[in-house]
Amino acid sequence: MIDLQYYLILSAVMFVIGALGVVTRRNAIIVFMSIELMLNSVNLTFVSFAAFLGDSTGQAFVFFVMTVAAAEAAVGLAIIIALFRRKRTVNLDEINILKW
């Protein structure tokens, strides 16, 4: 039998890897994929707590997180396409039109 903390540690490791991807990479698509990685690690925490506490609510929440992730992917990739059309790049260092 695997203890709960192994699942939580796996989730924490994947979350930190995703967070590092978000702060260190400059390619907008890879930053986006790192965000998906972080969402997935949170899903793992939800599912493991749901399984260990014997409550299905956590798994229903994973359902909502996946819906939000799908919506986020659709809108985010549309933003990336719009940016690429305007700037001809996905380098986040060059996309600074909101910078003051």
Binding site: L4, I17, L20, I29, L37, N40, A50, A51, F52, I80
Partner: protein
């Protein structure tokens, strides 16, 4: 070591390795493929937690729908041969790595400290992850959030079309 533990360790290792490869690969297509590997490993880990429905949804929605969108956009923008994005060594990365390591150690300490998550025993109920059990919660207790989800998806569809359109007139 039971079979369950062996499966967990193999797929946990696969998940961590593929996650590292996602954030380190230069070519976005290769990163996307490792992300799909990561989703499959995670689905196997969900199966060890008796979450059959979530495991299937993970593969269908994430590895199927969302990753198709990613790969489609990468191919549409033709980013495979972008050389200008070469990220080299920088002190920013060292600082980020140090901070990430610190956060990770804190989280692991919280999980293994006495009186923490260790004390929770696995519930013996294997029917937690069935479609019936999830639908029971989803359509009674969480019915309103479920309906709001449809609004969110409509907004996302409209937003995606408006944003990706060439000229708004």
């Amino acid at each position: 070591m039971t079979l369950e533990e062996i499966i967990f360790y193999i797929f946990a290792l696969g998940g961590v390795v593929s996650a590292i490869l996602v954030v380190t690969r230069r070519n976005p297509i290769i990163a996307a493929i490792y992300l799909i590997v990561n989703f499959f490993c995670l689905a196997a880990v969900y199966l060890t937690l008796h979450a059959q429905f979530i495991a299937i949804i993970q593969i269908l929605v994430y590895a199927g729908a969302i990753m198709v969108l990613f790969v489609f956009v990468i191919m549409l923008l033709n980013l495979g041969d972008e050389r200008s994005l070469r990220d080299g060594f920088s002190w920013k990365k060292v600082v980020a790595g140090g901070l990430g390591f610190g956060v990770l150690m804190e989280l692991i300490y919280i999980f293994i400290m006495p009186g923490g998550a260790k004390t929770i025993e696995m519930a013996r109920a294997t029917e937690v992850g069935t479609v019936k059990a999830i639908a029971q919660v989803l359509f009674t207790q969480l019915l309103f959030p479920f309906e709001v989800t449809s609004l969110l998806l409509t907004a996302a569809i409209v937003g995606a079309i408006v944003l990706a359109k060439k000229n708004l007139n």
